[in-house]
Symmetry: C2
Subunit: 339 residues, 2 copies
């Protein structure tokens, strides 16, 4: 393990100059920079992040906190963030809050606060006021993705508008009885999106002069399984069967498609189905959906943090950003067939 001193010796300069040359902070002549780079290269020198962090107070490391890893949305945001950070020379330290409150507590008490990170990205996590204020007190920039955190800059699609768009699509096709598979309320206190996605649905119905029928709502857990079961119940009833279903996530929508098939119903002839997300599998299932772009969300979160961490290098921070979303019509939605 070559140290900075050896590089300095080989390049014939002081360690201070090596540090400046390699980090880009402070001015170094073109000529010496070249010498230093060559020496570092030759020795295979890599800075010790610990020594560097200790001396500078910067860790070049971002903490990312997620509630789950094995869900498409989270892992995709994470991937986007990771790639953006890699470009800026940052590492990611991952905190997975799956599990009980004890785990969560320990993450905050002992891990995040260890000064191992320069900033934190919280994905779909509603942090408590206490957790937020601790981070603030440490002057760690914090940005949320996909879930509103009070007092924190958050990157999230307008869930109500998204829901209205999905529902509106069905209404525009002529559907009048539109079922909704939404989130379980008890589950996932961290999510507000289930209720927002329901609010948008209801407002779209009302705007179209349609009644909101509570019998047409089924809660589920955002999984394919959950969507399947909810859809079976919705579609099983011979009387009030909806001609269309709007599910609050693509995974649940896919479950609904499978349920319809198993009931012998044809999609979209007998029932139209739309989801939200544009999940990897949506295309395969021909699922109409409202796309959000989690990978881009991850990248944008990084960009926001970089602006806070390096104000000099960036244009002024835009405090609030409207995230894009987009209706994607595939083959799971169509005009309702004549009764």
């Amino acid at each position: 393990m070559a140290g900075i001193e050896e590089v300095a010796k080989l390049a014939g300069v002081s360690t201070a100059t090596v540090s400046r040359a390699l980090s880009g902070n402070g001015s170094v002549s073109q000529a010496t920079k070249l010498k230093v780079d060559a020496a570092a290269e030759q020795l295979g020198y890599v800075v010790s992040s610990n020594a560097s962090s200790l001396a500078s107070g910067r860790t070049k490391n971002i903490g990312v906190v997620v509630p789950f890893l094995n869900r498409w949305f989270f892992s995709t945001v994470l991937e986007g963030a990771q790639q953006a950070l890699l470009r800026d020379g940052y590492d990611i330290t991952l905190y997975n809050l799956a599990g009980d409150g004890a785990e969560r507590h320990s993450v905050f008490e002992h891990f995040l606060l260890r000064q191992r990170v320069d900033a934190v990205i919280a994905i779909s996590l509603e942090l408590t006021a206490d957790e937020v204020s601790r981070l603030h007190r440490l002057k760690k920039p914090l940005v949320g993705v996909g879930g509103p955190i009070p007092g924190v800059r958050t990157l999230a699609v307008d869930d109500t508008a998204v829901a209205r768009l999905a529902t509106g699509h069905l209404i525009a096709l002529g559907h009048r009885r539109i079922g909704h598979i939404g989130g379980v309320l008890e589950l996932d206190v961290d999510f507000h999106l289930p209720s927002n996605r329901r609010v948008g649905y209801e407002s779209a119905l009302r705007d179209a002069g349609l009644d909101v029928d509570p019998a047409l709502f089924r809660p589920a857990d955002f999984t394919i399984q959950g969507g399947y079961q909810a859809a079976k119940q919705l579609l099983g009833s011979p009387y009030g069967r909806p001609s269309a279903i709007y599910a609050a996530s693509d995974e649940m929508a896919i479950g609904a498609i499978l349920a319809a098939k198993d009931l012998g119903l044809s999609v979209p002839r007998d029932v139209s189905i739309i989801g939200i997300d544009d999940h990897d599998l949506a295309e395969f299932f021909g699922l109409s959906t409202v796309a959000q772009f989690p990978r881009a969300q991850g990248e944008k979160a990084v960009q926001m943090l970089m602006e806070e961490l390096h104000p000099e290098r960036h244009d002024p921070v835009q405090s609030s950003i409207a995230l894009p979303f987009e209706l994607v019509v595939r083959s799971s939605t169509a005009t309702p067939s004549a009764e």
Copy 2:
């Protein structure tokens, strides 16, 4: 940010004693330990990981390298590892090698070597000899999960045996024409499992005195989509249609189930299908499979690293471990129907 000095002052001891009391290294009387703990608690003191790492040479941080994040196997291993590490007070720094070689190169050149980690877990990644030797030179323990790395302790199920078990199950049911959906060879140089899973299939066939018919093999990319397309081709042919399909992953097997349905074939009456993994969705689809336990694999990888990092605290290292796997019979496999 309270420092160790303030804690020492408050507790009325030296910083060395605080360090010992809090870390558990070195001996401290019960009484002073209590005092120190109280003082630290009162001040909200948390050690600076950088200062600690710099002084001790230990980072309490493990690097985890994965090729993808949004695949069930990887994220599940990662989750298992994360949870195990949390218990031991370790953080995870995540390196995602998705993307091109440049990214991979930069991960190794500049990230892993920054001395930010005490050890590395490589998931389903075949590291080059050069990459391995660099890690070795740095004396960083390295363990692989799910993919064989030459010269490195690897945790992996015996893929050949697993494949033989899956195929054997079909043979035992009486199937004679057994198709196989396996990995694309060009894709994923990092995986050897596709070929091992094919070798096991072929050897099971031969053991049973059955011919290996190359027409019954289709490559796919380990996704549901890929499995669907491969299965359509396998099942579409009216002549040589296999009575059973063994897919090298559950995701591909699920694709095969969907393909069978779309072709109007009933599973398992017209065709039996088995996969490998015991994916989250396997139960939902009634998929018979050979379960491996990725979460446990992640935990075990951590355990191995801990044994290397803290030999004193652990029983002697078992160098090689046979990982468990288990046939799970659900409703996608059955005796072939009479011709």
